[in-house]
């Protein structure tokens, strides 16, 4: 198959994909990848926290906050997925340009939120792990590292804000009569 035919096949497939599918994939990425980030962060923090708590049991309840920060990342994903889901509407072929735009914007919104939260979860998890280990050695370090962790968790919020603004672009054409 020549390049032109290959190129045509792909552009054709992408152009004629239903906006509904684009939106649905966007929603799936928004929640799925966010949860991946959150769980990744929780295991990085959790495994260090478990080991460090053997010698210094006092750190456990304080350092649960690192786990909660990671958990919040998953919640961002859930919230955005619900917001995107309310904007989801069925369309029929041939697709109206507005429907196409709505599909693309929900898709992009999902990717923004999903990957922002994946990296945010990793970041918070790694700092949380360091936080647990440092707190076990020297309890005055806890608050200082917690501040870094808060800045880390703000990164995910940026993704959420941009994702919501992006999704507000989605305006489906009013009840097209086919």
């Amino acid at each position: 198959m020549g390049f032109v035919a290959w190129w045509y096949a792909w552009t054709h497939a992408l152009l004629y994909m239903s906006p509904y599918i684009y939106s649905a994939i966007g929603i799936a990425i928004s929640i799925g990848v966010s949860v991946l980030g959150a769980s990744w962060g929780i295991y990085i923090t959790g495994s260090s926290l478990l080991g460090a708590a053997i010698k210094a049991p006092r750190i456990t309840s304080k350092n649960l906050i690192s786990v909660i920060f990671c958990e919040a990342v998953a919640i961002y994903g859930v919230i955005v997925a619900i917001i995107l889901q309310t904007k989801l509407e069925a369309t029929k072929q041939p697709f109206h340009p507005d429907s196409m735009r709505a599909g693309y914007s929900l898709f992009a919104s999902g990717i923004i939120v999903g990957f922002a939260n994946l990296l945010c979860g990793l970041c918070v998890g790694i700092i949380g792990s360091s936080c647990a280990l440092s707190d076990a050695q020297n309890s005055t370090l806890f608050v200082k590292i917690l501040v870094i962790e808060i800045f880390g968790s703000a990164l995910g919020l940026f993704g959420v804000i941009v994702g919501i603004i992006m999704s507000s672009q989605a305006t489906w054409p009013a009840a097209v009569v086919a």
Binding site: S48, G51, I54, S130, A132
Partner: protein, 353 residues
């Protein structure tokens, strides 16, 4: 992923729990405040009382008075061995191999101890008690039957992890003090080179930090071999063969060390390397006795620094080494107290924190 420097992402899957545990162990290392208290002690029972408040407490609690230095050292070593075994049973590959590498040095020392002891017709059981427990292996008691290197290898060591290190020192010569010492250094050289290659293969922060620590170890051994072989029948080429083929001194420093005839020549060769210049500048001319302590201090400094970084294996190595240094310190303090030599107590201890 570790080879790309992304080990923070997946290091904790296998080793996060153990890394946290070893850092917990580290917090139990004696501090300078502890050492100051220990140096005030009048008897070994006072030492026991002070150690009772530290992690050593449960190990010394049931020891009856009067205590001996050997008992204190044995119990401290026992604690380290228990912790090591705990980590080894929890570890997965490649950490478990890494942990095993740490003990090979003790294995070499034990082999040399038994072979030398047998040569001087000492009782094997008495020798076995003196072996470091981390370097024991199943067939160690049969070492006494060997008459030369070839037998030593074929009958005993072929089943141990040390077997590959023997390739360079298999001869049919009868064992004597000189070639046992050469065997020790040849084995140790092969061991360090192998460990170095293994750490390079692990990649990431482990490779950076461990290669640095092992390079220091190799350089220190090169200097010690040089100083100990001055005035012996060892030729320059023989001496050069005992140096590990890595480290800051490799290869030009090795050429210079091989040609040294006295301590000041060693100093001249080493002062070209800034980290070692700092060590040698602490010593006055012609003084080699304090060199060991200066090297130990530098090593402890480097080992404690390895805890500053997270997600790497060097903390396990550093912890084991720091505890071993602590045991040496406690042995020195106990000996000084037992023999009423308290004025010399500060000469032999290297404080960690």
């Amino acid at each position: 992923m570790s080879m790309y420097g992304f080990e923070a992402m997946n290091f904790n899957v296998d080793a996060g729990y153990l890394e946290a545990i070893v850092r917990g162990y580290r917090s139990g290392l004696l501090t300078s405040a502890d050492y100051n208290n220990l140096c005030q002690c009048e008897t070994l029972d006072d030492i026991k009382m002070h150690l009772g408040a530290t992690d050593y407490g449960p190990y010394l609690a049931n020891e009856p008075s009067p205590l001996h230095t050997a008992t204190i050292v044995e119990k401290c070593t026992q604690k380290l061995v228990d912790e090591y075994n705990h980590m080894l049973t929890q570890a997965t590959e490649p950490l478990s191999t890494f942990l095993e590498y740490i003990t090979y040095g003790h294995m070499i020392d034990n082999v040399v101890l038994i072979v030398t002891g047998t040569l001087h017709e000492r009782d094997v059981h008495e020798l076995l008690e003196k072996c470091h427990p981390l370097g024991l292996f199943d067939s160690i008691a049969t070492l006494a039957v060997a008459q030369n290197m070839r037998e030593l290898y074929r009958l005993v060591l072929v089943d141990t992890p040390l077997a590959p290190y023997f390739s360079e020192c298999i001869t049919s010569e009868d064992l004597d003090d000189m070639n046992i010492e050469i065997m020790r250094n040849t084995l140790y050289k092969a061991y360090l080179e192998d460990f170095y290659r293994f750490c390079q293969k692990l990649g990431g922060a482990t490779s950076t930090i461990m290669c640095d620590l092992l390079a220091f170890e190799a350089d220190r051994r090169a200097v010690n071999i040089t100083i100990n072989s001055i005035g012996t029948e060892l030729t320059r080429d023989d001496r050069r063969k005992l140096y590990s083929k890595f480290g800051m001194l490799y290869p030009y420093g090795h050429e210079e060390l091989a040609a040294c005839d006295d301590f000041d020549a060693v100093r001249g060769a080493m002062e070209k390397y800034p980290p070692y210049q700092a060590i040698f500048s602490k010593l006055s001319f012609g003084e080699s006795q304090m060199l060991d302590k200066a090297f130990y201090e530098e090593e402890v400094k480097r080992l404690t620094l390895s805890f500053e970084q997270q997600f790497h294996y060097a903390v396990f190595f550093a912890y084991m080494r720091l505890r071993e240094q602590e045991t040496r310190n406690l042995m020195w303090i106990s000996e000084c107290v037992a023999q009423n030599q308290k004025s010399r107590i500060h000469d032999g201890i290297v404080m960690t924190f």
